[in-house]
Symmetry: C2
Subunit: 499 residues, 2 copies
């Protein structure tokens, strides 16, 4: 059982996430070790404080002296990253504490997760040192990614430098860095991503409380394998979720999954039904897997707070429009007929024949001009039963169109997506209802790379102006439904708690 430090104020954590200097212990002058990797990653991402590489063999790296010991560093340090073999970690941690470090992340594995008494004893040594006054993340973790202060995690040389409002607390290092990279192209920007591995000192409950009060964090994501104190955790979760959305993946809910968490981060899994009920009770948004976590984080961070009860669906046509409508209703989102006058106005803009101005709107022709999409969406925004718009663009169709027309490049015939992004942005600004873009790609042959390139470019154009992009309409709707459910519940809670 871990004792939470009541004395450890959040000021310490603030300093840990924005250190003026970092010692990195275990940096070889060559090779591919973790220490060298994380050192180079901090140079690559542009950390602006002082970096002190340490290795008992000395040497140099990128023209900088490697100090033979932590003691040999000529100044005090704020933070430490430790990547030496497990049996050397306690003395390194103690040395960092004496050098004034407020915290350290321990990347090394070989502790409690091994299931050995040696590993457990080593981890207990870290706990003893931590209690003397240094906060510890890990061991067996990938550390912190905090773009604002240019801290990066393992292996993250090219994570985004742009800060944002999404935080992640994760026992898994792999999931943390994957989330960081996914966020980069999906347009999720981060305040703090924290991989805490075995969690010998800092872990879920305390970090959740910290993020609750962190003004830079608007949405909290969690990957939890096991918690050290269920009651405390759920209390913290409930308090936090009243103020900020908290999205949770609970891993290890099956027998074999639970067995795997033991060797992964020495955690105990728990029972599915109990977890699900508890998370619901706390108003947390439970998601099943990594993809749903990314989708939900994107929707929560880019959509305004509020309920999303009805949507318009534009484009896609035929079976895809029907699938979208079916999916929406199964998720509790209506796809209502437009008001009669608006239907007539929309039909005016649509190409004829073959189009349909009921909802979903079947745009028969793929070549609808951005200004027409703009008009359609503005009219649909006037309908009080519409809370948001889904625009589906089947960009992959242009491959066949290209072949039929004998065009040289798909780019010669695709619509001007920069203008479409601008048009959709104007719709949001004028109509005050979010637009969500869906860009599926069913043409993934080896010689179809050009389609993928255009899709990625289009996604960037939309995310740059703050509009979420999904690759599948069902995923988009599921994420938006979870946003809606959260704010509906928060409204209910605030009503029921008022006098």
């Amino acid at each position: 059982v871990i004792t939470q430090k009541s004395s450890g104020g959040f000021e310490d954590l603030d300093r840990m996430f924005a250190p003026a200097s970092i010692a990195i212990v275990g940096v070889s002058s060559e090779g591919f070790g973790f220490g060298r990797g994380i050192f180079l990653s901090h140079l690559a991402i542009g950390y602006e404080g002082k970096l002190y590489p340490v290795n008992k063999r000395g040497g140099s790296i990128e023209g900088m002296t490697i100090y033979p010991s932590v003691e040999a560093i000529p100044d005090n340090i704020d933070f430490a990253i430790i990547a030496v073999p497990a049996h050397l970690v306690p003395s390194a941690l103690e040395a960092c504490r004496r050098k004034g470090a407020v915290g350290a992340e321990v990347l090394s594995s070989g502790f409690r997760e091994t299931g050995t008494s040696e590993g457990t004893a080593l981890e207990e040594e870290l706990q003893v040192i931590a209690r003397q006054g240094i906060r510890v993340l890990g061991p067996n973790c990938f550390g912190i990614y905090c773009p604002k202060s240019r801290l990066t995690m393992l292996p993250g040389p090219d994570l985004s430098r742009e800060p944002g409002g999404v935080a992640l607390l994760s026992q898994s290092g792999g999931l943390s860095v994957d989330f960081g990279y996914t966020g980069k192209w999906r347009g999720i920007r981060f305040s703090k991503v924290v991989s805490f591995g075995n969690g010998c000192d800092l872990r879920e409950t305390e970090m959740l409380r910290y993020l609750r009060h962190d003004p830079e964090t608007k949405v909290i994501c969690m990957y939890v394998e096991g918690v050290s104190d269920g009651r405390e955790f759920l209390a913290a979760l409930q308090e936090t979720a009243r103020e900020k959305p908290v999205i949770v993946i609970k891993g290890g809910l099956s027998d074999s999954g639970s067995r795997a968490t033991a060797s992964h981060t020495a955690s105990l899994g728990g029972q599915r039904v109990i977890w699900e009920a508890a998370l619901r009770q706390c108003s947390a948004t439970q998601v099943e897997n990594f993809e749903e976590l990314s989708d939900a984080a994107l929707a929560f961070s880019l959509l305004p707070a509020g309920e999303y009860r009805g949507c318009s669906i534009v484009g896609g046509g035929g079976a895809l429009g029907i699938a979208a409508a079916d999916a929406a209703e199964s998720l509790g989102i209506a796809v209502p007929r437009f008001r009669n006058d608006l239907q007539a106005a929309i039909l005016d803009v649509l190409p004829k024949p073959g189009s349909s101005a009921t909802n979903p709107i079947d745009i028969a022709n793929p070549f609808v001009k951005p200004e027409h999409i703009r008009e359609i969406l503005l009219r649909a925004s006037e309908d009080e039963n519409i809370d948001f718009h889904i625009v589906i663009q089947l960009l992959y169709h242009y491959k066949s169109v290209k072949l039929t027309m004998g065009a040289g490049s798909i780019r010669d015939i695709t619509p001007p997506y920069r203008e479409l992004a601008k048009a959709c942005r104007e719709v949001v600004d004028i109509g005050k209802k979010p637009v969500v873009l869906v860009l599926p790609n069913i043409r993934q042959e080896e010689d179809d790379i050009e389609i993928e390139e255009i899709i990625r470019e289009t996604r960037r154009l939309f995310t740059e102006v703050g509009m979420p992009v999904f690759d599948d309409v069902k995923n988009a709707l599921r994420a938006i439904a979870s946003v809606s459910r959260y704010y509906r519940r928060r409204k209910t809670l605030s009503i029921s708690s008022s006098p």
Copy 2:
């Protein structure tokens, strides 16, 4: 109500799917119309019979004479593709019938789906002509794709020429051609893909009976918006699903989805619970959307018939292994511990430290050699509780590895996937248990195209040797669970029907 032709034997349909000559009515000598597109597509895909382009304005296309009328064609025809404005379709169809065509597909729209009395009357005219002795697909459809006879649908110039065992019957044209293209890169190969649109003559029930008896079709997929005779359809479905797997998407089960089917193919939707119960009763495999349809078609066509109760999960490690185990168990697939002796043998092969030989197998190091994966899978195959293997390869990790190692290209450092495919193929041949590859890609930034290229190449290497590849472990498991459920049910049915 449509009368099924009892006289129309399957020989007619056989000839329709393998015509020696085709008239294509509505081929302009220039422009981008449907008729010209489908004509050029048949040239591109290499149709080897005689093609007769027809247009009342005459002219020529690709050096071939365009006949001014169907009557002007100098010989009889087997089949016709009609793409003229709706009001001209009845006379064109009648002319084709007189020219001996056994069947025709009508690509034109403007019939019952318009909801107008003119459209409905025109469609009824087609039905009258059909009863006089020509089978009609459509109107408002994309036609037939049959790689064996090099028939292709709209717009399908570059669909695969390689035939296979999967058939699709679909009211939606868009879904049909999307499925054809998805199959191309996923390794699903087709016997017959049939888009029947409004289905004025040939439609779901009769076509299903035809495919039941078609020796080239092993797996039947269906996209259904509405059926013309529910009782007959369900009877045909039940008979068919006793012999071949039938995978069904039912579109239009929501209010708005149902409204959209009316304008899409003039169909009536129906109620979700009733449909779901009926499909289950018939032993059909119901899927929710296009992605699940593709996943299921791939699994049914590449995995041997049988139950899949337990699996090994190799690679991925950490959170992904746990997620895989959780997903498997929630789908009724066990991830059992290996037999003790096998666990020891597997641990012998794994890199140390950090690996785990329980199941899921956490391969700590991404650089595990193909011969070691081979050994691990062969040992796991000896376990009687293991029915198949999931191998997860996180190829995108090599981007970070590349940056850390300063390698020039990701290809310089990725494992030899050709050898891995060969090794996995040997495992299947020796151990008689299928191997399924999962290739997720969380790095989809604009400058990460190289990762996508390598993933597509790897997918091809595996599908070329008959192993299914999925992009997500949950999708793989869900598809395999549906295969297992189908064959378990078929076994139960055959037991309960024996004396």
